[in-house]
Amino acid sequence: MSMKIVLARVDKRLLHATVTLNCDPFLNADYVAVVGSEYDNDPFIVSVMQLCLPKTMKVKILTEEGLLDFLNQNDSPRTTTVLVIFKDLASVRESVKRGFHVDEIQMPYPTLSVASKNLADYFSEEELADIEYIQKQNIRFYFQTTPFQAKDYGSFCK
């Protein structure tokens, strides 16, 4: 029927970020789509990364272009759920440019506390530009490292 994105996250650890998401019910996704990894052409590495997760959860290592193709094709009679993990903000921006859209994107906290700091302390100018571009496409960012933490939208509104 259709693809439903249950979580979009930027995490340079890619699939290994799932260790922090282990307790999150969102992880009950049919697919984990890893976007922007340099490993997308190596089937052996894909197989090893797939071993991170049980066989019920399929791993897809995709380019930004491949992500759109993947999200647009679905032959399953039911809704397929997808957890998307981007390598970095540039990868999100590239995907958004190509038509990817989601309501909000999760970022792990760069440090334990971000409340009193400025985003510029944590992101490069290029990354800040990426954030601004993505926000202009009506996509919200929030900080949340583990599912136990509250979502922090405020830091991205300053």
Partner: protein, 360 residues
């Protein structure tokens, strides 16, 4: 052990690539499993890695599973070693978490079953299990009964246990469609504070996608023996408050209705039947309406008359007639008022049964 089955999966994948051999070593360096079966039983010197043999500790949730051994002549051996090692440790963490969750929920199920057991409530078994689980029995708890007609996802319920808000709670799927949570609550909360506290918890459940078609909140209980009463109060609400779909229904809002429902109204009717037969011309519907209105107006005659659009004297006249018929003092005596409400409730029940065609 979890490591055995997980490592077999890794072996199967690595066997597809002839450049590498992986093995699982125990703490002493003995090969306990390997993608090359001929090497099982051999020994490796963990403290002396070389460009062709790398060793990585296998550790998950503070438990040591030995070492991962990677052998190969590939220039990317180190990169591959890190990848396989990370994947193995992450997978083990995942499997242990899942296993712990299942164990937790099973223990909760067992305890809830014992607590709700009406026929053979066994406090010794309950206390034994509580000690085993490390369950804090000194806390007060309230039953939350949630029904979802589509059925609950067991995995989401299990994961609820890991949330900070899940701490101290007992959580059990009584069936695919019914979830019972004994929620730990702070002491001495006022009614409104309690609603706010539980409401926040239910919003957290919704965030977890644990939603229901109805939510029934029982009475707060401290004694383990009374937990089933809190659950029973939820069931009473579900059966008696029909307008509760998609709403949160609080037992404490229906105490009066609950206790009225616990009174054997047939007894009341039997007691007053003789008098009632005398007043054959009594309009039952009107009597019930007047009793309900008196109750909601704290038996204030003027306010009751106003809400019924009656002149005060007309209402007094009707009340006098009831007083004469049933030999009770409705206007001046608390006991008389109470009995009048009981008579009304018994007549309400009588009317309901007559409407469904029961022979009376």
């Amino acid at each position: 052990m979890i490591i055995d089955s997980v490592f077999k999966e890794f072996i199967n994948v690595v066997r597809e690539n002839k450049n590498y051999t992986i093995g699982l070593l125990n703490g002493e360096g003995d090969v306990v499993d390997c993608s090359d079966a001929a090497l099982i039983g051999g020994h490796r010197d963990i403290s002396s890695p070389d460009p062709y043999n790398l060793y990585y500790p296998v550790k998950a949730k503070n438990f040591d599973y030995g070492y991962l051994w990677l052998n190969g002549k590939d220039e990317n051996l180190s990169l591959m070693g890190n990848l396989i090692s990370d994947s193995l440790n992450i997978r083990l963490t995942y499997e242990i978490t899942q296993s712990t969750l299942k164990q937790n929920i099973t223990e909760d199920d067992r305890l809830v079953k014992l607590l709700l057991d009406d026929e053979s409530f066994d406090m010794n078994r309950i206390l034994g299990l509580i000690e085993e689980m490390g369950f804090d029995q000194t806390r007060s708890r309230v039953a939350i009964y949630i029904v979802n007609e589509q059925g609950f996802d067991n995995r989401k319920i299990a994961k609820l246990k890991l949330m900070p808000e899940g701490e101290g709670n007992l959580c059990s799927l009584l069936s695919r469609y019914a979830l019972l949570i004994f929620k730990a609550v702070p002491e001495n909360l006022e009614n409104q504070q309690m609603k706010s506290y539980i409401g926040k918890f239910l919003r957290m459940l919704k965030d977890l996608d644990v939603t229901g078609d109805g939510y029934w909140i029982g009475s707060v209980q401290r004694k383990l023996r009374n937990y089933k009463e809190s659950y029973r109060h939820c069931l009473w609400l579900k059966d008696n408050e029909k307008e509760s779909r998609d709403k949160i229904v609080w037992f404490m809002d229906f105490l009066y209705d609950y206790f009225m429902s616990e009174i054997r109204l047939n007894d009341v009717r039997d007691v007053f039947d003789y008098y009632h037969d005398f007043g054959k011309d009594t309009d039952i519907d009107e009597l019930i309406q007047i009793a309900d209105s008196l109750l909601s107006n704290n038996f204030n005659i003027s306010q009751t008359a106003e809400s019924l659009y009656l002149h005060k004297n007309t209402l007094v006249y009707k009340l006098k007639k009831y007083e004469e018929s049933f030999h009770i003092d409705i206007r001046g005596d608390f006991k008389g008022r109470f009995l009048f409400v009981l008579i009304s409730a018994s007549l309400k029940e009588y009317r309901k049964r007559r409407r469904v065609g029961e022979e009376l």
